[in-house]
Structures are given as structure tokens and as C-alpha cells.
Amino acid sequence: MSIIYLLLGCSLLMALVFLGAFIWSVRSGQLDDDYTPSVRILFDDIKKKDESSNEKVKNEKTD
């Protein structure tokens, strides 16, 4: 049954990693604003499309 000591250590370590991740997320302000990121994530698509279409225009010009 000594394997339990190892498992115990592993499980606690895992849990501590998650706790650390949580503390990091709070510290970096991720819990301060829970609305804007949900809108912001949709912008990137438009921006990228824009850039790629700009690039296309550039490419066409260079061609």
C-alpha cells in the first residue's frame, strides 16, 4: 500500500498547480472584467481578415 504515499504526493502537487494557476489568473486581472473579453475575442477575426485582404491588395499591386 506504500504506493498511496506517491499518489498522495502527486494529487497534492497537481492541486497546488491548479491553485497557483488560479492565483495567477486573479493577480493578472482576469477576474476583474468578465464581459469585455467576450466581445473582444470576436474582433480578432475581423482584424485578421482585414489584414489578409490588405495583404492581398498589396500582393496584387506588386504582381
Binding site: L16, L19, D33, K47
Partner: protein
């Protein structure tokens, strides 16, 4: 880009407003005004037209151009210091409040600010707080330039006296999040390590794991006890020092005893202790606290006049215009007030035509005309041409602002609320100590070994966890439901305060009447179609609110070109339409040589066609929708009063509405309103004040519960406990009934948690509380109380027809 004018009602491509009169066409889009068109061009030149693709017509109308010198005060180092969060030699960071932000296009544009202003390195929006944090390089740009750019785009940041004067910078409090995280982590692991004991692990294995698990539990409980639960101890000690026993005292006692007894059991190898109960208890309690703490970030409930007053004004010194901070204004200073600027102190009009909108103060939106030599009270907004004034009172000593010097504004507003929980916990604590000491004494006589055991067991099991959770969850749920219905309360405790109300005091203008809408009627012979067209042709060219209202009434009529158009601010309009001389305006303006109108209480606009005055338009306040029904409902249960700052010309219609027996008081000054509320309170009345302007601020503060009615919750409301959106005014009675029901839920859940306590106590007094019973009873009581309160509160919301 050819620009032609069109004669058709179209929606503006930028702001979506219907274009009044001809629209400006540019780039194939319609614009209502030059301001909107300019913003479109700035954006299109910088490839930012995605702004219009994210949402249709997302812009903010820019009908009133902002004066160039308006933000000069931002170059002042002292002002900057207050607005800048971080500064080094190269970069600066600032957070600006932009109340007009309203959609995803706004977020997108504000976060792409770097494309418009090179010095900006980074900008980030917090939509819920309506703030934008901007980082910029000091070499390339300045705070003033950024603010000017934002204003040019329509996103004028609200920078007011409060930002400059307040000493404390708001810091984000994240401690509770950490505490919940730590408690949750420890709770989960302790549970995991406690299960083997409950299932009798040691019977199957020869190793003595339970000893190891016990010590591990103790180590895991340390951060819970010393970090997560520290606020309960602090509050309990703080309360005891003030001779005040709140719910924190029995909670802290329970937590302390849980920890000490469990540690003793583990160290003395006599058992596994109750660490799982301890960690679970604190985790649930903190979750309740978090649930209750979540409030409406965007709304500010503590606004005083400083939140509306400008930071600086233009002062004439030796004939030159200089920007001076409002706080430095002295009696005798000559100030310049431009269109749409606020008058910061009581002053005498020296030059120009005053046309002052006092809607911030009184709720009345029709501007008041002032002539040279007249005193203009602080808080008014000049509409029209630039005026010159001489200060006759300091900013803080003005007719309006001196209200804030009264004692009511010195003490914190929270202290006046006593909640049901506070009352109950006092008795609860005494009863608890009585039972604990009683059972300890009983066992001391019959079986001294069990004495300490019974004493600690009582304190552990009776730890009022479920009781402490019932209020936060019932009130928190109620607050969310009310918020969904546009009735925003400052803190959850306010719900209980609403339920206690027995007297309601209304303000008149802007509260029970609609400031933006008034009913218009034409008195005189019926208007012929020709005359209608003449009036419409003239009023379409004016931006005066009354002209706009008249035009909207006649907008069906054809319009003609106008010759010799002339508008005299605050007086009226004239011009020649289709060969006919038309004159519209005040009595004096239209009847040049006649004596004064004998009855000038109502707002009237006279019409003169050629040489004849054919009649007048009369503007009367429109009452809010459903007002009659609401007053009728409230009359049966509450004492109703009406406090108005206006004269009593509407007394008759008010009596019809409120009934003859109601107290209707007119011509009340802001201070008199406050004193009246105090008088009612002295007669043991629980007063709810419903008002809207800054002149109600004193009454709202003095009352047991202040509700401010606001047309636009993001823009304006005086300090109060509740901010109610004007559109839900007719539901006031439903909100009150719902609050009463919510307090019923708290009482019911209190009974439930008491039953749990009695069950637990019956084990505890016998001195045989096993860890497993504690471990089952604590989460069971907490979870069932949480479920019961949330579900019942939601059912009551449905009963009161709330969303």
C-alpha cells in the same frame, strides 16, 4: 466627394438619429450633421470603417461642437497628476471614464485608438465599468491631445471635479477571490483525505493511514483558518469593541472552536477532527459574501455635485482668457461660459443672453431665459451663445452646493440600515452561549469527562452557517432580479429597507412628469394647412428644444424656403415664408408693444402671421406612463406626499391625482425638502423619497431610502440608495411588494436553519457529536438553504410579474 442636401427623413449613417431637416450626403451615406460626417471621415481615412460593420449606426451624435479651449486645463501638471495612474520619463498610463460607450463598435474603436494617435501604445476597455485605460508616450502626445481626440470622435471622457479632488485612488480588491480560491482548494483536498476515515479505511489496511491523513488535514486547514477566515475574526472583534454583536461573533466562535478542537484531536491521536466541516463552512460563507458583494459596477450611487461640475472654467484676467480650476474661483471673478457648459457657482450675468437649462437641478428641461444683472444659480447649463458672468458666491457656498455642508452628508450612509440578520444574531448569540454553558454545566455534574466535549460540540454545530447564508443569497438574488428590471440598488441590504417603508415622498418635475416629453396644444383658431406649413418651415431651422417639439408636431406639413430668417436666443424666430411674415416666440417677442401677459405660469409659444397674433402653443408636462394607476395602488398602503420646487400652478391636477387629503407642498427649496423629510422621520415614519434632480439630493440622503429616477442611468443621478430607470417608474409598487416578499423568504429560511440547528444541538448536548454528522449536516443545511432562498425569491419575482 460632392455634397448635396436632400429633403427626405433619413437615418444618420453614423449615429442612427433621424435627420431633422435635410441630411448631408457624403461618400454615399447620409449624415444628420457635420459633426457625424467629420467623425466618419476621420475613421474612413484611417481604415477604421469596420466600426460601422460591427453594429449599424454605432456613433454618438456630435451636434454640439466642443470648444477648442475646453481641455486646456489638462496641460496643468497638478490636474494631470490626479488623472494619471502611472508615469515615468517616457510613458504614462491613464484611465478615463467614457459614459457614452454602449456597444461592441465602441470597444473596437477605443481599442484601436493607436491607429488614430501615434503616441498611444495601448488602450484597453472595461465595458462594465465604461472605462478605457490608455498607455501613451509622452514625447509624441499628451493627455490633452488624447482627450481632445476622444471628444472629437464623440467619446468625450467624463472628467469632473470629483476625479481631481478625491485623494484616494480606487484600488481593485481581489482579496476575496484569493480567499475563496484558497478555501476551495483546501476544502476539496481535506474532503478527499477525510473520506477514508468515514468508510473505515483502517479496518482493511494494516498501515495507520488515518494518522497521516489527520496531520495532512491539519496542515491544509492552516491557510483556511489564518487566511481565508480572518475577516470574520476582524469583524467580530470590531463589533465587540463597539458593544455590537453581529452574526460574525457566533461564526468566529464556531470557527475558532472547530479549529482548536480538531487540532487537539489530531495531535492527541484521539480522532480525525472536523477539518472538512471547517473548510467547507468557510468556503460556503465566502461564496455567499462574494454573491452578495457583486454590485452594479457601472452605476455610481455616491455622486454629489462634484461629479457633475467641471474641473476648470475660463476666467477673464486682465482681458485675457485663462483656464482656472473651479476650486480656485474667487468672488468677483469674471467667467466665460460657452454653449453646453455648466455654471459652477452662483453668479451674476454680465454680458450675453442667458438661456439656462436647470434639468440637473430641478428636472425641468425647458431652458430659462436670463437677462443681464440677473443671478444665475450654480448647476445650470448654458444653451446657445457664450455668456460672461461674475461670481458672487464660492463654489462650495452656492445656493445648491451648500446642501452638501449639512450634517447628513458627513456621516456614512450605510450606518442607518439595520438588517433582520443583525437583530436576530444578537439573540442567537446569547441563546447559543446559554445552551453551550448550560450543557457544559450539566455534564460537569453528571459526567465531567464529557463536559468540554459537549461545550465545544454545541458551538460547532450551532455555528450559524445556514443563517449567515440565507440573507446574502435571498438579497443577492433579489438584487439581481431588480437589476434585470432596471431597478438598481446600491447594496443588497437596501431590499430590507424598501420593505420597511410606510411613507413615500415624490418630487414633481422630472420624477412624476417626463422631462423630455410634454404635451403640446395649440390654443386659438384651428391652424390652417398653410399656417401649419409656415410654422414648420420656420421651426425646422431652429435647434431650440421648443422649436423642435413644435416641428415634430407639424412635421407632416410641407416646408418652404425662408427669407430673412432670424433667431434671437431665448426669445423667438422670425422670417418670411412664401411671402408671409411669420414670427414665433415668447409673448414679449411677438406682441412688441403690448403690456405683460397676465398669466405667464405655463410655457407658451405665441404665433404671429403677418400682423395678427393667431394664438399660442401651450406646453404642459406629460405625466409618466401608468402614474395614475401607480398612485392609486400606493394610496391604499402608504402615506403619500408631494414636494415640488415649482410654484403651485399644477396644484389642481395634482390634487385630482393624489386626492384631496394628500399633503402637496410647493415652492420648496432643496434645504426645505431635507427638513421636511426629517420632520416625517421624527414622527416615526420610514420615508422613501423618490426624486431626480440635484435639488432632491438632500432629501434623498436624509430619507430612509432614496430612489433617484433617471432617464439615462449612465448619465445622471444624485446620490441615492436606488437608481431607477425612468421607463420602469410605473412598476414601483411591484418592486416594493417584491422586497417585502424577499424579507419573508429570509424569515422562512431562518426558520429552516434553526430546525437544522436544533437537530444538530440534540446530538451536541449529549456530547456525542461524531465528525461524520457534522460533515453531513453542515453542507446539507448550507446547500438546502441556498437552494431554498434562491428558488423562492425567484418564484416571488414571478408572482410580482418581474422578469
Amino acid at each position: 466627394m460632392g455634397e448635396i442636401t436632400q429633403r427626405k427623413k433619413t437615418a444618420c449613417y453614423h449615429c442612427g438619429d433621424l435627420c431633422e431637416g435635410p441630411s448631408i450626403v457624403s461618400d454615399g451615406h447620409d449624415f444628420c450633421c457635420a459633426g457625424c460626417k467629420n467623425v466618419y471621415h476621420i475613421l474612413s481615412e484611417n481604415n477604421l470603417c469596420d466600426y460601422y460593420n460591427l453594429e449599424s449606426a454605432p456613433g454618438i451624435a456630435l451636434k454640439n461642437p466642443i470648444s477648442k479651449t475646453k481641455f486646456n486645463y489638462l496641460d496643468d501638471e497638478n490636474v494631470q497628476k490626479k488623472l494619471i495612474d502611472y508615469a515615468d520619463t517616457k510613458i504614462r498610463k491613464t484611465t478615463l471614464f467614457v459614459p457614452v460607450m454602449h456597444c461592441s463598435s465602441c470597444i473596437w474603436l477605443l481599442e484601436n485608438l493607436y491607429k488614430l494617435e501615434k503616441g498611444v501604445t495601448h488602450s484597453r476597455v472595461n465595458f462594465l465599468k465604461k472605462t478605457v485605460s490608455i498607455t501613451f508616450r509622452t514625447e509624441e502626445t499628451s493627455l490633452r491631445k488624447i482627450v481632445e481626440l476622444l471628444s472629437a470622435l464623440g467619446y468625450e471622457p467624463a472628467i469632473n471635479l470629483n476625479d481631481i479632488e478625491s485623494q484616494v485612488k480606487k484600488s481593485v480588491n481581489r482579496k476575496l477571490s484569493y480567499q475563496i480560491g484558497v478555501a476551495g482548494f483546501c476544502f476539496g483536498n481535506i474532503m478527499l483525505l477525510s473520506f477514508p476515515e468515514y468508510f473505515g479505511l483502517d479496518q482493511f489496511t494494516k498501515n495507520n493511514f488515518s494518522l497521516l491523513f489527520g496531520y495532512l488535514n491539519m496542515v491544509l486547514a492552516l491557510p483556511v483558518f489564518f487566511f481565508s477566515s480572518q475577516d470574520y475574526f476582524k469583524n467580530a472583534i470590531k463589533g465587540l469593541r463597539k458593544n455590537h454583536i453581529g452574526i460574525d461573533v457566533p461564526l468566529a466562535l464556531g470557527i475558532l472552536v472547530l479549529f482548536l478542537r480538531s487540532s487537539y484531536e489530531v495531535i492527541s491521536h484521539s480522532g480525525l477532527g472536523y477539518f472538512d466541516t471547517l473548510a467547507g463552512l468557510i468556503f460556503f460563507l465566502l461564496t455567499g459574501k462574494w454573491f452578495q458583494q457583486k454590485t452594479f459596477d457601472t452605476l455610481s450611487f455616491e455622486r454629489d455635485y462634484k461629479s457633475y461640475f467641471p474641473v476648470a472654467v475660463s476666467v477673464l484676467i486682465d482681458g485675457k482668457e485663462t483656464t482656472v480650476p473651479v476650486t480656485n474661483l474667487k468672488i468677483g471673478d469674471r467667467i466665460i461660459i460657452r454653449n453646453n457648459e455648466l455654471i459652477p457657482a452662483d453668479s451674476i450675468l454680465m454680458n450675453g443672453e442667458g438661456n439656462v437649462d436647470f434639468s440637473f437641478v430641478t428636472g425641468e428641461s425647458a431652458p430659462v431665459t436670463k437677462v443681464s444683472g440677473e443671478i444665475i444659480y450654480a448647476g445650470g447649463r448654458q444653451i446657445g451663445k457664450t455668456i460672461e458672468l461674475e461670481i458672487c458666491k464660492k463654489v462650495s457656498q452656492s445656493y445648491l452646493t451648500q446642501l452638501w455642508n449639512s450634517e447628513h452628508f458627513a456621516k456614512p450612509s450605510e450606518s442607518r440600515i439595520t438588517t433582520f440578520q443583525q437583530i436576530v444574531s444578537r439573540y442567537f448569540t446569547f441563546a447559543l452561549l446559554f445552551i453551550a454553558i448550560g450543557s457544559a454545566g450539566w455534564w460537569l455534574i453528571f459526567n465531567p469527562v464529557l463536559s468540554l466535549n459537549a461545550f465545544t460540540s454545541v458551538l460547532i454545530i450551532a455555528c450559524p452557517c445556514a443563517l449567515a447564508l440565507s440573507s446574502p443569497f435571498a438579497l443577492g438574488t433579489a438584487m439581481r432580479i431588480l437589476g434585470r428590471n432596471k431597478f438598481y440598488i446600491k447594496s443588497p441590504e437596501v431590499v430590507e429597507q424598501i420593505a420597511k417603508t410606510n411613507t413615500i415622498v415624490f418630487d414633481k418635475t422630472g420624477t412624476i412628469t417626463q422631462p423630455t416629453e410634454s404635451s403640446i396644444a395649440f390654443i386659438g383658431d384651428e391652424l390652417s394647412n398653410d399656417n401649419k406649413s409656415y410654422i414648420a418651415s420656420l421651426t425646422v431651422h431652429s435647434v431650440h428644444p421648443l422649436s423642435k417639439k413644435i416641428y415634430s408636431l407639424l412635421s407632416e406639413s410641407n416646408t418652404f424656403d425662408v427669407l430673412n430668417f432670424n433667431e434671437e436666443t431665448g426669445k423667438g424666430l422670425e422670417g418670411i415664408v412664401n411671402g408671409t411674415a411669420v414670427k414665433i416666440g415668447s409673448y414679449k417677442y411677438v406682441n412688441e408693444n403690448s403690456p405683460q401677459d397676465e398669466n405667464n405660469t405655463a410655457t407658451k409659444v405665441y404665433v404671429k402671421i403677418n400682423a395678427d397674433v393667431i394664438g399660442y402653443f401651450i406646453f404642459e408636462h406629460a405625466y409618466r406612463n401608468g402614474l395614475k394607476k401607480l398612485i392609486h395602488e400606493l394610496k391604499s398602503t402608504f402615506n403619500l406626499f408631494l414636494l415640488s420646487g415649482d410654484n403651485d400652478k399644477e396644484r389642481a391636477s395634482m390634487e385630482e391625482l393624489f386626492g384631496k387629503n394628500t399633503n402637496l407642498l410647493f415652492n420648496q427649496s432643496p434645504m426645505e425638502k431635507l427638513v421636511f423629510i426629517e420632520q416625517l422621520q421624527k414622527n416615526n415614519k420610514k420615508v422613501m423619497m423618490i426624486g431626480d434632480g440635484l435639488n432632491d439630493a438632500g432629501a434623498l440622503r436624509a430619507s430612509d431610502l432614496g430612489i433617484s429616477v433617471s432617464e439615462n442611468t449612465a448619465h445622471f443621478s444624485p446620490a441615492s440608495d436606488v437608481i431607477m430607470d425612468a421607463s420602469v417608474f410605473e412598476k414601483t409598487n411591484q418592486f416594493i411588494n417584491f422586497s417585502v416578499d424577499t424579507t419573508k423568504v429570509i424569515r422562512m429560511s431562518f426558520v429552516i436553519s434553526l430546525i437544522y440547528n436544533i437537530i444538530g444541538l440534540s446530538y451536541a448536548v449529549q456530547g456525542n457529536l461524531s465528525p461524520i454528522i457534522a460533515a453531513i449536516l453542515m453542507p446539507l443545511s448550507s446547500v438546502s438553504v441556498i437552494l431554498f432562498t434562491t428558488v423562492t425569491t425567484m418564484l416571488y419575482a414571478k408572482k410580482n410579474k418581474l422578469k
